[in-house]
């Protein structure tokens, strides 16, 4: 009996694995330095100003005064509130419009029985995901250029656009959400199909056989077999996606931002960036406060999302 207990003790396990435990060190040290230390660095949000032009970070930190002003400022700052609003709006739009589409296309793709066609279609659809955001936005800026772009030329020739007043697709607040969804859809819809394709392929083919014999047509098969079978996957992914509501897509939005659309395009992430790196007089402490606020809300949402997913489907992110 005593021997058994000893075998399970931590000390014994450490001794058993003493040669492999060090394998963990590089990753842990890197994670500690580059993920945990910055978390501690959030403390600068409680200082009034970091004067980095004249001081090193530690000195600037030491010289500055403690204050809660950055946090009280949050709710009075129209720019911040606007950024929050935009983040939520953009994220919400992406979920409502872009979330269902991959499901839809995944169903179609799995119906392509010809192996060659299937692989070709998949290859084409996944490709945009592998292009960087600057490239995707660059491509769309060329295609949608107000004066020389293909889209405007075609619309003008078709008489749908007045050539004296071409639409500035990327510099028009009214078109921003459209372009944002278009480019996000371009890059991500194809890629997001993958999980659904995998889920659909996991459905037992016998059910389809049985349905076909019973006379169900394709539409009915999809409605009564395919969709119900992947509902749990959809629900799980939807909940997780909502958990990441605060992530509106920095890399995409940042590549699309300009002063004309800023009022609807600036999300929290780009606002933080602008405060710190695109200002003639950066406001690091306020930017940190904004980031901290964002991080906490995001954390709560993600945890809540994961908890909900586990309650409903038994599976979560971890």
């Amino acid at each position: 009996m005593l021997v058994k207990i000893k075998k399970k003790s931590t000390f014994y396990k450490v001794k058993k694995y003493r040669k492999i435990l060090p394998f963990l060190l590089p990753a842990m040290i890197l994670a500690f330095v580059f993920s945990y230390i910055p978390m501690l660095g959030l403390i600068v949000a409680f200082k009034d100003r970091l004067n980095l032009t004249a001081f090193t970070p530690f000195e600037a930190f030491a010289n500055a005064n403690w204050t809660l002003d950055n946090f009280t400022r949050l709710f009075g700052s129209t720019e911040f509130l606007q950024a929050v609003r935009n983040t939520l709006v953009i994220s919400f739009l992406k979920i409502v419009i872009l979330f269902p589409l991959p499901i839809f296309f995944a169903i179609l793709i799995t119906e392509v029985k010809n192996k060659f066609s299937n692989k070709t279609v998949q290859a084409i659809l996944y490709l945009p995901h592998f292009l960087s955001w600057p490239i995707v936005i660059g491509i769309f800026m060329n295609v949608f250029d107000p004066s020389s772009g293909a889209v405007n030329n075609i619309l003008i020739r078709m008489g749908l656009m007045n050539y004296q007043q071409p639409t500035f697709w990327f510099a028009d607040r009214g078109w921003f959400h459209f372009m944002m969804l278009l480019t996000a859809g371009y890059k991500d819809i194809g890629w997001s199909c993958i999980i659904y394709i995998a889920a659909i392929m996991a459905i037992d083919t016998e059910m389809f056989e049985a349905a076909r014999i019973d006379g169900a047509n394709k539409f009915q098969q999809v409605r009564y077999i395919t969709i119900p079978s992947i509902v749990s996957t959809i629900a799980l992914l939807l909940i997780i996606r909502i958990g990441f509501l605060m992530d509106a897509g920095f890399e995409q939005i940042f590549a699309m931002i300009n002063p004309e659309v800023r009022s609807v395009a600036e999300i929290i992430g780009t606002y933080v960036y602008r405060l710190s790196f695109d200002s003639v007089r950066p406001d690091f402490t306020f930017a940190t406060a904004v980031g901290l606020f964002n991080g906490i809300i995001a954390l709560i949402l993600i945890l809540f999302g994961n908890w909900t997913a586990k309650r409903i489907g038994g599976k979560g992110i971890w």
Partner: protein, 528 residues
């Protein structure tokens, strides 16, 4: 229970590691500026180090600024004995701040007066007073007290000032006269309505609604505040003396009228190029040169680009283009008003981490400011690059073109001679005694108070803030709020809804520091 203990232990471990790393890092970091570091006076001038100098963005490639490609660099090296590596500041808003945060390896940097104010208020610069005493005998004599005052903060000197070459009216509207005459208008407009009429005529002549790539007036997104038009409304330079106190131009009630007028131009199709919302000045220039626009906001210095334009019926550049001297309100008469640049334009400063070798920088600049050296560096050798005729300096082309970028390298200026030398540059396009088209463009824009020209019905207004020292409340907010104002002007002209948008933008400027800055500025102004 065990889990909690483990968690607790790991947290304590984490924090102690952090504390340790903080100790380590603060030990090896340099101590910063603040407390105003001073120049190390104990240096041996015979042991000259290589210097790294940064200057404002020129839009040119970095290859232009080395010894092989550039005579000014070579000459400076030969005259002063210092080998210098030149770097350009990036054109982004945060570039300067980032260089200072990053402690980029440089000995000195040439910044604008506004940037200087911001840096000195932060404590990021080295106190040069003693250094100039010891190493700068020449500069003390050739730079005026007014200029030194502008770079003095809390009684100490933090930079070496450079003044404008001449109190010039720099920017105005340039007209393609060939187009204008073809449209039936023989002379430049003199009132705002004549301007509108001219733009309309130009647009109609070029096909009106049929021609969708032509717009009469074009400009870049940073040029929405057009000086001659604004001046006709009674608007002033950035700051204007109103009843003995200084007022920011955006706060003047006439601003609303300017915005209304510009918006009304913009609303009429074809008069203004809609792309002004987003395009760069280079794009605008490109359209003007291609003939897709007939009027452009430009400076006389940009006129060199006009030569690239195709021309018909006029081989003489003077006949092809003309600078608008100014505009009046309807029914008004008298002289035109336009805005002159004046005072300190650039300051050369030493960042706090370069204090040790600041003495060498001062010595280097000092050597360049002596009359003979200064002349060599700005306008080259007599007989080779320039000649001295009638008490004036005239360029010898094509040799003079070698010195095209010389003003980038200027740090501090010899105020006694700079203006005279600069005129040689202005005459670059001519041959004695004709000053050339560049000179003529410039002359047609200048007020008659300038000793070169006469008969111009132009009054120049100089910015009353031109001799202001660093005012902390202004320096710490200035660039941010002024960018917002500029964006607002552009947006309002483009989108309209002038009353509401203007009120919003004005309140924002006030709330973000404009009111406080105005108060502080006036404390200086009324007591100077």
């Amino acid at each position: 229970m065990k889990k909690i203990v483990i968690l607790l232990l790991s947290t304590i471990l984490a924090f102690s590691m952090l504390a340790f790393s903080m100790l380590v890092f603060s030990a090896c970091g340099l101590t910063g500026g603040g407390g105003f570091r001073t120049v190390n006076l104990d240096i041996d001038l015979n042991n000259k180090p290589n210097l790294n100098i940064m200057f404002p963005n020129t839009g040119l490639s970095n290859d232009v600024f080395n010894d092989q490609n550039n005579i000014t660099v070579r000459t400076a090296r030969e005259l002063t004995g210092y080998t210098v590596n030149y770097m350009q500041l990036a054109a982004t808003p945060a570039a300067l701040q980032l260089h200072f945060t990053n402690q980029t390896n440089m000995n000195a940097i040439k910044v604008t007066k506004a940037q200087f104010d911001s840096l000195v208020a932060d404590g990021a610069l080295v106190d040069l007073t003693a250094g100039i005493e010891k190493f700068g005998p020449t500069m003390r004599t050739v730079i005026s007290d007014a200029s030194w005052d502008a770079v003095t903060y809390e009684g100490r000197i933090f930079g070496i000032p450079e003044i404008v070459s001449n109190d010039n009216v720099d920017r105005t509207l340039f007209f393609n006269m060939v187009h204008l005459r073809a449209a039936g208008i023989q002379t430049l407009p003199t009132t705002r309505e004549e301007l509108r009429h001219a733009l309309q005529a130009l647009y109609t002549h070029h096909g009106g609604a049929q021609n969708h790539s032509y717009r009469a007036l074009t400009f870049g997104r940073f040029d929405s505040f057009i000086d001659p038009i604004a001046a006709s409304f009674g608007l002033g330079n950035q700051w204007r003396d109103v009843n003995g106190e200084l007022k920011f131009f955006f706060e003047q009630p006439e601003m609303r009228d300017y915005l209304e007028f510009m918006h009304s131009l913009r609303s009429t199709t074809g008069l203004i190029d809609e792309s002004f919302l987003t395009q760069s000045a280079a794009d605008a220039m490109s359209k003007f040169i291609n003939g897709n626009a007939s009027v452009i906001v430009a400076g006389w210095a940009n006129a060199v680009s006009f030569l690239n334009a195709p021309h018909t019926n006029a081989s003489n550049v003077n006949d092809r283009f003309a600078a608008l001297p100014g505009l009046r309100a309807e029914g008004a008469d008298g002289d035109f008003v336009n805005f002159q640049n004046s005072g300190v334009s650039f300051v050369t400063v030493v960042p706090w981490w370069a204090a040790n070798e600041g003495g060498f920088v001062i010595d280097w600049i000092d050597q360049k400011l002596g009359e003979d050296n200064f002349r060599l560096l700005t306008i080259g050798e007599q007989g080779v690059h320039h000649q001295f005729i009638n008490n004036e300096y005239w360029p010898i082309l094509p040799a003079f073109d070698e010195l095209n970028h010389a003003d980038n390298y200027m740090m501090g200026s010899n105020e006694l001679f700079y203006s005279d030398f600069w005129f040689a540059r202005l005459r670059k396009s001519g041959n004695f005694p004709d000053g050339g088209y560049l000179f003529n463009f410039w002359a047609s824009m200048q007020p008659r108070t300038t000793h070169i020209t006469s008969n111009n019905p132009i009054i120049g207004k100089r910015n009353p803030m031109r001799s202001a020292p660093t005012i902390t409340e202004y320096a710490t907010v200035r660039d941010r709020i002024e960018i917002d104002v500029e964006d607002a002007i552009r947006a309002i002209i483009f989108s309209g809804n002038v009353n509401a948008a203007y009120a919003t933008a004005l309140n924002r400027w006030r709330a973000d520091g404009g009111t406080a800055a105005t108060a502080a500025i006036n404390r200086w102004y009324t007591n100077r």
